[in-house]
Symmetry: C2
Subunit: 444 residues, 2 copies
């Protein structure tokens, strides 16, 4: 049996009763994080550009755009919400493969949910199925693939196709064709780093997966060997591959349990420093004007990837652990609002940033940091972060996740609507209509 | 200067006055061939499936579907007409790279031409520019790319983006971004051979190139180094590459002059045999019942790729030089109608097919064939085809091309409309409105 057919069989036979409670919980947390990111990114110039270009091609108004007032059809909603959910690079991560699981699957499913009745329970099963499919295909290639390709673009499209095939009630053969049509669209190279094309690649995975399912539903065919064939996805897009990984433990091991959420809106290797500074702030409430210096010891990779000492603008500040430390101490936060030109140029933040020093310490892992805060009154405060928030050893709590969403939605949705959105996501398996999340996330 | 920028500068500065007459002629011939193929494929089940799936997503009725009555928006028209123009595998070929130049460029431009006023002259310049861009990018990679990828899918998208950028009057920076957004969508592996996904890959090149230009017009950005960058198209999708080929002779050597048109609706290596049989038929009018045997000598590759002796159905008969020889002798044609289940099972065709023998002759090139026809009256007729019709040494005449279009459109468009379509394509540079071709090719 071809891999596409084996995955199709899994997807179509997945039953809600087979899902462990932890998987259900993580699905709800993923949806909350997705919704927050999609709202948070909704006013980015990339999204404004896409909306301006594509609204003339809206075939209807069935679907919401998260955080916005415009409405469009399902194919365009999948793309634009997918772009919006990724554009801040704040969405979830399957750490092993660097797949961002929710952008393809949640964005495509939510678009369908606004066109046809899908209960929360049904949505949850399809979401889990889609995430399994994309992450398992990613497991087979990431180690020989990620240097060149954005794996959410290339493998995420399979997840979207599988999830949509499930809720569209496709036959097994149609679902196999949908996965083949997904493979026919697998795209997105890393040359697009630092450009708007990056979020476009991610959003297209959602849209193209939905398109694959819609075409397969009407009889378009593709190769059943799309994944493992000699000219198929895994052979062509990865010089080495482990095809057994696609189905090993299928239905018993759940990739969704490996999903993680970024607590802070910057390069992930700077996160331990932020944890350290937030702890120092909570414990000692340091007056910024009284900070003499902050001495950091970090993993070598943290200094390598986020070593910009004096970032020139908000975008670059995401790659500065010095700026991250300063805003964590001054603002007590490291959300999207801390990485703006305004915060980069704020006099107090600048002054504190100039007092931060960092050395690479090879004895520290990437989830660790040490900080020593020296105050003008002679007090010295030390902290050692052993496992950063968001790591598998220290996952974000539900409360932290809700705070993250509040920060992302600040100024974009009314506060009461944000609380309603959080509540809707938390209880989404019980929703009679899964599209309540889209309605809760869009402006009326 | 990056390759994308250099190509953008070329595309935007290309002037009608700079085009040699032979290039203009070939553009008109390409458009005629494209229109005929798009009409000829319009009732294929792949097109029916795409229309059924995508008509609910039509944002308007500005655009025609060649050969059909339904209307849709520009993005969907580019896809569906592109699929239709390729589905019979009868469209034009840039022989060096195996790029099918017109499907991406003509399908996307025609969709735009139905939404905004574009003169024939303007269309012609954009068409030539788009074909140059895609074929030149193909020149850089084909030798290390085509084994895995459909180059019309992967490189054709650049041609569509470039052509659309031209008629949309994009700035040079926007056009560069459009080529980057094309690269971000470059896709389509050869695993899809023999499935409907193949024509889908080809049609997507048209749609995705148009999408790239529309997004760039509204400000979406991409990497300027999309083609040559270390994680860009050429590096990632080809283990070896010749980047100089992209710009060598740009503006003086015209890839469009290397375009060729298939005279017959079957695998190209069987074409010399068909030429031979058509010549025998014209010269001797053999009664099928009086044919004792036909002995063929062909290139080894012809027997390897089209060696099916007794094809079970119409689709498979395209890969049978035995069937091709039989229909050429019996019907005097080898168009789409000769590769149907009906012709495969016709008693006269079956009988003649059973009397065809073929041997591989390594002294014969792929454009050659020898045939010896033995009749029951003892007459023996010989013919040697030295250069098959459609090869660079023996291009299809304008009259042959028109006959091909007539054959393709048979039963799909009224005869008078077919003649009008042929006339419109032949004079298309002088059209006040280039979309006249689309109107001439669709059912009213």
């Amino acid at each position: 049996m071809s891999l596409a057919r084996e995955l199709s069989r899994f997807v179509l036979s997945l039953d809600a009763a087979a899902l462990p409670a932890a998987v259900r919980t993580e699905a709800a947390r993923s949806m909350l994080n997705w919704a927050g990111c999609a709202v948070g990114g909704c006013r980015h110039p990339a999204i404004d550009a896409a909306v301006a270009a594509l609204l003339p091609f809206a075939a209807g108004t069935q679907c919401s755009l998260m955080g916005r007032r415009e409405r469009t059809d399902a194919l365009h909603a999948a793309l634009i919400n997918g772009m919006s959910a990724h554009v801040l690079d704040f969405d979830d991560t399957h750490l092993r493969t660097l797949m961002h699981p929710s952008v393809p699957v949640a964005s495509s499913l939510m678009a369908l949910a606004e066109c046809m009745p899908i209960t929360g329970e049904r949505f949850l099963v399809a979401f889990v199925a889609g995430v399994e499919v994309e992450c398992r295909i990613a497991n087979a290639v990431w180690f020989a693939h990620n240097a060149d390709w954005y794996i959410t673009g290339t493998a995420g499209v399979f997840g979207a196709a599988a999830a949509c095939a499930q809720v569209l009630d496709l036959a097994e053969s149609q679902t196999t064709h949908a996965l083949g049509l997904a493979a026919a669209q697998s795209a997105g190279t890393r040359e697009m780093a630092g450009t708007m094309a990056k979020c476009f690649i991610h959003g297209r995975a959602a849209q193209n997966g939905l398109l694959a399912a819609l075409l397969a539903q009407r009889g378009l065919t593709a190769a059943a060997t799309a994944i493992e064939g000699v000219h198929g996805f895994a052979q062509v897009l990865a010089p080495r591959r482990d095809l057994d990984a696609v189905t090993a433990g299928l239905g018993t091991d759940w990739e969704l349990l490996q999903n993680s959420y970024k607590p802070y809106a910057c390069g992930v290797v700077a996160h331990p420093v932020i944890d350290a500074c937030l702890r120092l702030r909570r414990a000692h409430r340091p007056d910024p004007a009284a900070i003499v210096r902050l001495d950091l010891r970090v993993s070598p990779r943290a200094l390598e990837l986020t070593g910009i000492v004096a970032p020139p603008d908000g975008l670059k500040s995401k790659w500065s652990l010095f700026h991250s430390a300063a805003v964590a101490l001054v603002d007590g936060a490291a959300g999207e609002h801390q990485y703006t030109d305004e915060r980069v140029n704020d006099p107090v933040v600048r002054e504190v940033r100039s007092r931060v020093g960092a050395v690479a310490d090879p004895s520290l892992s990437e989830i660790e940091a040490r900080a020593v805060l020296s105050m003008s009154d002679g007090n010295v405060h030390e902290v050692h972060v052993e496992a950063v928030v968001g790591s598998a050893a220290n996952p974000m709590s539900d409360a932290d996740l809700a705070d993250k969403v509040r920060g992302l939605a600040l100024g974009l949705l009314p506060d009461r609507q944000v609380e309603a959105l959080i509540g809707t996501c938390r209880g989404f398996a019980a929703l009679p209509d899964a599209s309540a999340i889209a309605r809760a996330g869009a402006l009326g």
